[in-house]
């Protein structure tokens, strides 16, 4: 159970170096990686100045933060949490060597009756990741769902 007073609170802050080696690892894990994620030469041949970050790479920055502390801060129960949806807005390209930073903020809190009983809480958290030049690069929103307790 969470309350609407949480809207607007700052949960945590992250400083995240975008490393080419980490991009490679991420792309290989997803499977059949595009060579632009593996070598500077391939990236440059495709017109990129450096190895670009894959579109969902900003989730890695999420795990640089203390996810259990966030869940506790939001007053949620870890065992009932699922991520329902994630949204990304792309404002500036992100490359290996960049440094991103951003603060995670609660944008919305809603509740509704769960399908299997109890009350479901839905919390939208947003992080605006800015690069080392202060430009907004990626805005990420996560919809965190705490499922209801069946009585």
């Amino acid at each position: 159970m969470a309350d609407r007073d949480l809207i607007g609170i700052e949960i945590d802050h992250v400083e995240f170096p975008v490393e080419a080696g980490k991009i490679r690892e991420f792309a290989v894990a997803v499977g059949d990686p595009d060579p632009i994620y593996l070598s500077v030469e391939a990236a440059q041949a495709a017109g990129h100045p450096a190895i670009p970050a894959p579109p969902t790479f900003s989730v890695v920055a999420g795990h640089w933060r203390d996810q259990s502390a966030m869940v506790a801060r939001l007053g949620l129960e870890l065992g009932r949490i699922v991520v329902g949806e994630v949204q990304w807005e792309y404002h500036a390209p992100v490359y290996g060597g960049d440094r991103l930073s951003g603060t995670r903020i609660v944008r919305d809190v809603t509740e509704r009756a769960g399908r299997r009983g109890g009350t479901m809480t839905m919390i939208t958290v947003e992080t605006e990741l800015r690069n080392q030049r202060g430009e907004l690069a990626v805005r990420q929103r996560d919809l965190i769902i705490e499922t209801g307790v069946v009585s």
């Binding site: 969902t56 990304w88 390209p93």
Partner: protein
């Protein structure tokens, strides 16, 4: 914003088969992304939580759909992506990833294409649904209207 990859024709629909998803791939993605929720790699933990076995993180499906979208619409052309997780992906699952042009819009003088994304298990269950927008100079006639 970079306009890389936007000056080429866009197919109305693309489809790709991936998998089978393996435990090794799930662990590899955990290491790459930093998601060490034991539900995704610890068999005993997953069973004690009432699951039949470990299952993949939703972010793996999202990354696969994003990969499809980047190949299709251009890695530098993507403007937004949203992915909803609708079912679990289990080891052994083979997924069909599909992208379909839904329409076009003009945002701040930039022509953009909007497309729906789906990841579907071999049981025909949709495990993730998404919407992607990308900068595009190319008209997609079939999608208008």
């Amino acid at each position: 914003m970079s306009e890389l990859g936007t000056r080429r024709p866009i197919e109305r629909q693309v489809e790709r088969r991936v998998g089978p998803v393996t435990r090794t791939q799930i662990v590899r993605f955990a290491g790459a992304g930093g998601d060490f929720n034991p539900m995704h790699h610890d068999e005993e933990f997953a069973r004690s939580a009432g699951q039949t076995t470990v299952f993949a993180m939703g972010q793996l499906s999202a990354a696969m759909l994003a990969r499809l979208a980047a190949d299709w619409l251009g890695a530098g052309a993507l403007r937004s992506l949203s992915v909803r997780f609708t079912a679990k992906v289990w080891p052994g699952d083979v997924l069909v990833l599909r992208g379909t042009v839904a329409g076009q819009e003009l945002v701040g003088g930039e022509r953009r294409v909007a497309a729906t994304l789906e990841a579907i298990r071999q049981t025909d269950e949709i495990v993730a649904r998404g919407i992607v927008t990308a900068a595009s100079d190319i008209a997609v006639p079939e999608a208008i209207g």
